[in-house]
Structure formats: structure tokens, C-alpha cells
Symmetry: C2
Subunit: 409 residues, 2 copies
């Protein structure tokens, strides 16, 4: 970014600038109070928290979205996310019977059904197995669900905030199942949570033996309570709902259980009234995080468009950005590391001339899957659906820099 490309006022040049050569050293700015005093020592900051100036960076809920506060969801403030790691303090949470307070010394995991040796494991047992750490996103398949018809919430937090990405640590489920011995004919696993809802989902055994973790760690520390402390399932790249929290039971069987959460919920109601079930993976998706409704542009000049892309099928290969609602596309820069089933940060330098713009991003993953438009999704699935909306988001930038969520015809 050359200085010449910065708009007036974009970078404060508070000192004299000669035509050529070096400027005289400016006077330093006045010393603020915090430069002339002693701050506190460690004191009670044995566990730290953000600056009080960051009080707006919080999870938020949509009061009208759910019937009550105990079966609800709060959204990650993606408009503030920097990089690919979502802070554990604002990682979105979805729960069906509130957040249970689980004592890790009393928590147990039972594994039974079509196994040779049923197991009852304590947390101490689970910590003793070989460990695995991986950076993966979790997305609720209802993320963007309010947009299927035309909610057009003017907010990145509420259109895309049911996602987060963390470094998870745990034991590979395959390691624990090997310990049990898998009976011949077993092909499905039922996962059940220890919360009051006893949330249950059926998961194909093949996925469980592939990359599923029994996770006890998140971003370097124990899972947070609202993320399933002390133990959750991590089902990389698949619907968030399958990543069963506070997990207490795994049952092996030879058929799915058709639980509430995979029949009346988390299925896709099609145009003809039939519903698609067991649509597990999160397909390639992306969104521009700056500018966005909560983070507008401030006058013409040089900017960096920033965003996040992800796919439940593997790595992101490419992200394109359009400034004109999808007519022309420019390839964005992907920030390393680009990891499988993880958020990937993309950026594109943008010189904004102050005229209206329609910003979009489009992700392509390593399988070649191209993120669709909402019109394309509706063509196939109609407007009854709630889940698995991975469509291209359009942000309209107005001449005053304000940003609006719009749906193109």
C-alpha cells in the first residue's frame, strides 16, 4: 500500500512534511497520564480479561429467535474477530437445556452397544490416552438460517455469528473405540450429552474412526462450560449440533437412531414438503468481515477488505471477492496457515472511490466446491429451509460508508 493511495485523513500526518528530504523531528505528543504513573502489579489478574475499552466485543442473542433462554443461542461477534482463532470468551454457544455445571471428578463417559468390551471412563482415564491437538471450526447449520426467506438482519454477528474456530485438544475417538473393540456389523454411533436435554445424534462409524475427537481442551485450556466442559465430541467439518457437548454416552449400533435432533430438527425442508436428513458436512462458505454493517467504511481511500472462509470438506483453495455484486471477481490473498476444516483469513486491498459498492466473497475448497448464491440455493431447496445456508453474502456499501445486508435478485 503506497502512501499515495491513502485517502485524505486516512493516516494522520500531524507533522510538517517537506517537499523532499527528511522532515525535522516533530515534538512528541503530550504524555498521557498512563505514561506518568505506575500501573498495578499482577494483583488479582491471575486470570486476565479484556480491556474495559473492549466492552462491545461480546456474544449476543436474538431474543425473539427461541422460545426461552434455556434453549437458545448466542452469536460470536465476528465483526471484531482478528485472525482465525475465535476467543473462547465469545465463541458462540447453542444449548437445549441451559449450561450445566459438570463436576469433572464425577463425570463419566460410557461406551457400550456393539462393542466387545463396554467401557466406563473417568476424565483421568481420558486424559491418559494419547492426545491430539487440531485447529477446527464449529458452525451451527442454522447459521444464516434467518436469511433463507428474507430476514436481512443488518448485522454480521447475527447473519454469520454461529461459528467459531479454536485449537481443540483431546483423544481420537478411534483410539478409544479400539480399546473397546468394535463388534462386527457396527456402523453407527449414538452420542448423548449429559445436560438436561440429553442431546443425542447418530454419527456414521466411518466418520468416528476418521477424525472425530473426544475433546477436553480448547485454545490451550480446558473447555469452557458452555462448550461442553469437561468433555465434548468434536466432529470436524460437520454440523455443529453433532459436536455433542458434556458427552456422557456413546452407543455403537447398526442403524441410526432417528433422534429428535436429526428428524424434526436439523433436516432440510424442501419445496415439495419432503425433508432431507443426515446432511452432515458444512459446504464451502465465506463472508467479508470488514467492511460489514457493524464496521463501516470511513470515507473514500485505501482499505483492506478482510474476511473468513471455511469448508467442512477440507482446505480452502481460493477466495474471490467482487465489488459489483458478482459481475467481476478478483482473487483474494489467503493468510497462512490454511488448515483443513478451519477458518481461513482472506484479504484484498481496495481503493474505494466513495461510490456505492456491492461486496461479495466466494470460497472454493480443495474438492472444487464453489460457494453458491442464495438464488441458486433457493432454486434447489425453495424457501422453507433453515439449515445449511452457505450462500454468498452481499454487503452494500453506501456513499457515506455505511454497510447494509442486501439480497440480490
Amino acid at each position: 500500500m503506497l502512501r499515495a493511495s491513502l485517502g485524505a485523513g486516512a493516516v494522520g500526518l500531524a507533522v510538517a512534511m517537506p517537499e523532499r528530504g527528511r522532515a525535522a523531528d516533530p515534538s512528541p505528543p503530550a504524555e498521557p497520564d498512563w505514561s506518568q504513573s505506575l500501573g498495578p502489579g499482577i494483583g488479582d489478574r491471575v486470570y486476565g480479561h479484556p480491556s474495559r475499552f473492549e466492552a462491545d466485543v461480546i456474544r449476543r442473542d436474538v431474543p425473539w429467535l427461541t422460545a426461552n433462554a434455556e434453549a437458545s443461542v448466542s452469536f460470536t461477534p465476528l465483526q471484531y474477530q482478528q485472525g482465525i482463532i475465535t476467543p473462547s470468551g465469545v465463541f458462540f454457544e447453542r444449548y437445549h437445556a441451559g449450561r450445566p455445571t459438570v463436576d469433572p471428578a464425577r463425570h463419566q463417559l460410557m461406551i457400550h452397544g456393539m462393542v466387545d468390551r463396554p467401557l466406563l471412563l473417568t476424565m483421568a482415564d481420558i486424559h491418559r490416552f494419547p492426545s491430539e491437538s487440531r485447529i477446527h471450526f464449529i458452525e451451527c447449520p442454522a447459521n444464516g438460517g434467518m436469511e433463507w426467506r428474507a430476514a436481512q438482519l443488518n448485522s454480521l454477528q447475527f447473519t454469520h455469528g454461529m461459528i467459531g474456530c479454536a485449537e481443540w485438544t483431546g483423544v481420537k475417538l478411534s483410539t478409544v473405540l479400539e480399546e473397546c473393540g468394535i463388534a462386527k456389523g457396527a456402523s453407527w454411533v449414538l452420542a448423548e450429552g449429559a445436560d438436561g436435554a440429553h442431546m443425542t445424534r447418530s454419527i456414521p462409524l466411518g466418520k468416528c474412526l476418521d477424525d472425530v475427537l473426544l475433546a477436553y481442551g480448547q485454545n490451550g485450556e480446558a473447555l469452557r462450560p458452555e462448550q461442553g466442559y469437561p468433555l465434548r465430541l468434536l466432529v470436524p467439518g460437520w454440523q455443529g449440533n453433532m459436536n455433542v457437548k458434556w458427552i456422557r454416552r456413546l452407543q455403537l449400533g447398526d442403524a441410526p437412531w432417528f433422534t429428535r435432533e436429526e428428524t424434526s430438527k436439523y433436516t432440510e425442508l424442501m419445496k415439495d414438503g419432503k425433508a432431507r436428513g443426515f446432511t452432515w458436512p458444512i459446504y464451502a462458505k465465506s463472508v467479508i468481515t470488514f467492511p460489514c454493517p457493524e464496521m463501516p467504511a470511513r470515507g473514500p481511500g485505501a482499505y483492506e477488505i478482510r474476511g473468513l472462509a471455511w469448508s467442512g470438506l477440507g482446505r480452502i483453495n481460493q477466495v474471490d471477492v467482487s465489488l459489483d455484486g458478482g459481475i467481476n471477481w478478483t482473487r483474494a490473498r489467503l493468510q497462512e496457515p490454511v488448515l483443513s476444516k478451519a477458518l481461513t483469513k482472506f484479504t484484498l486491498e481496495w481503493r474505494w472511490d466513495g461510490r456505492p459498492a456491492l461486496l461479495q466473497s466466494r470460497a472454493i475448497d480443495e474438492t472444487g466446491f464453489v460457494q453458491p448464491t442464495l438464488a441458486e440455493l433457493r432454486q434447489v431447496r425453495g424457501t422453507n429451509s433453515v439449515y445449511n445456508n452457505n450462500s454468498i453474502q452481499t454487503w452494500q456499501v453506501k456513499p457515506d460508508g455505511s454497510v447494509f445486508n442486501v439480497q440480490l435478485a
Copy 2:
């Protein structure tokens, strides 16, 4: 890890195990209270925190280590760290005038000296530049300093806890310096903090143009106050002290400034009474995090030895583990992703027979540098030094599983 290799009691088998074939389904364990009740909704957890059962996972200080609480240090509880990301809440902190409370709306960064156009930048200006996110460790060069002579603190937190690793986001310093125009002959940069200590360090311009960031983000959110909110220097792989926090001023010049923090402090006092200065990079280093004094073994059987390795010169290529105090070595598994100048997790499966053991780890980085023993370091540098102790750590495991910090002759 085969079941046969697990020691008695290692994995709780609370249910009947037939000789062959499938066991009858056991009765599920009794339902605890949290499975029979509704937990709270989001309520005031708009910014979350760890479970109350994790109250021991905190930063700690060593009261006798520093003259007062305002020029002190607190240590990361590495014994609990899972994966390569250090939770921001327990990331070690070193400060020389306490922790200032800096208002980001009033904070400014001045860049002056041998530049064509001095700049005075607000935080809004800095956020507007192209951004960069990278996972890097920061280590205080005094980490392990208490061990130079023979403190032998029986604690991983206190022997190695002045380190942390995070995903940092900011703008490349080279981008901002390009904006200023670097005057001919400039070769050094002075970095000054806005805290009461006005902590200052001289940094070669070459490093600044290579990979230094002006960082405003850490693990997905704004820097924490004790990490330099709202802006710090990130000098990847070099002494922590150079990663100047609350940064307010960068001055370009043609010689170092020989500040207090690079003369009387942060230099290495050699055997002959001379001191080595400007010894910037952190050389290859590693430590076993399990077992360790705070996390003992619990009876013979199957374990996973876990640890962390890092180098300020690039990627970790190899970590070897010894069970017998450095006589025999076995190559450990490195957990992906292995990133440059970042913590790297290593693991090795270990079947402990219950006899005394001397556990060590030895890191080798991509430059071929091999982590030395403390004896080798003392041979070169004597016992006056405090800084840059990257020696191999020995943990003695006693038959009861307790672990002690020992120094081999």
C-alpha cells in the same frame, strides 16, 4: 496404544468383561443432578470464563524474585497447557511500571528520526493498513534464569513459564515504514513503550523490515491490557523484552541507543566478567510438560509423554526424548501444524514400569541447532548469567510417580 499396554486401573472398566464376544449392555451410571435439571441461559455470560473447577489454572508470581509488584513477572501455567495456543487469560506478563490502562482513542504512535516523513498514527490509522495474522511464541530471555546456578525450583510453571504462544494480528512494520520513507543510512530502530517505565530497546532495521509486526490482536481479539493494549511490537523469535508493549514511539537512527534494557539488563555476564550484548534470538529449546512436578505420574502403565518445543530461528525439525538422563534418545512425534517461531507440541508413548526415570527432551530446529545441556552452557558462559538459558531440562520420576527438577552433573 493397545489395551493390553494399559496398566491396571489406568482405564476404568466398571462393567463385566466376558472372555470373548460382546458384553451385555451395562447399566448406565446414575444420573447426576446436572443431567436432571435446566442450566442457566446466556444471562451475563456475554464474555465467558473457565469453569470454577479450573481455579488452579492461573498465572503465578515468585514474590522474592523482584523488588516490588510493579516491576515484576507472572508465569504461564504450562503444566496445564493443551496444544500450542496459550490462553490469553494466563499468558505470562512482564512489566516494569505495572500495567497501564491505555485509552485506544487517545493512544498514538510516533515514527520519526531518519525517515522522510515522520508520522503520528492513531489506532484507527493503524487498523486501516493491510493486516497480517501469525502464530508466534514470545519468551522472556530470563525464562529459566533462576536455574543458571542451582535454584532447582520444583515447578514447570516457574522454570519455564515465562513463555506463551498466540495468534497475533497487526500490520507489518515494513508496511508502515514504507509509508514514512526510510532515510539513507538508517540501520536501527528504537522502540519505546507508553507505560511509566518508557521501556526502550534498539532493534536492527533489517529485522524490522523482515517479520516484525505492530500487533493489535491476540488470539482473535484485541490485545489484553497486560500484553500491551492497544498496540505492541511483535519481534518474532527474539527476546520477549524487545516485543515492546503499549508502543508509542519508533525512532530510526544509524546506531543503537544502548538503553538500560540492553546494557545493565538483558545482557549475558560471562565467566571473565565481560558481558555479551545484543544476543537477540531465542535458540532451540524444549520441555516436557507431562509428567512434570505439578503433574505427576499415577502408578505404572501406559502414558503419553507430552511437551513443547520452540526456536526463534524457524521451525522445529525434530524432538528427541530420553528416559535415562540423556544416554538413549527416541524421536518424538511432532503435532501439526509445525509453524516457524511458534510452540510445537511433541508426544511420545511411554510404558512406565514404575522404576526411577530421568526424562529429558532435546529440540533441533531447521537450522540444525541442537538444544544444549546446562553443563554445556555453563562451560561457555559460566554461572553468572541469567538470560538465554535454553538448556535441556531433566525431570526425575520417582517410583511413587512424583517428579522432581534435577540438574545432572
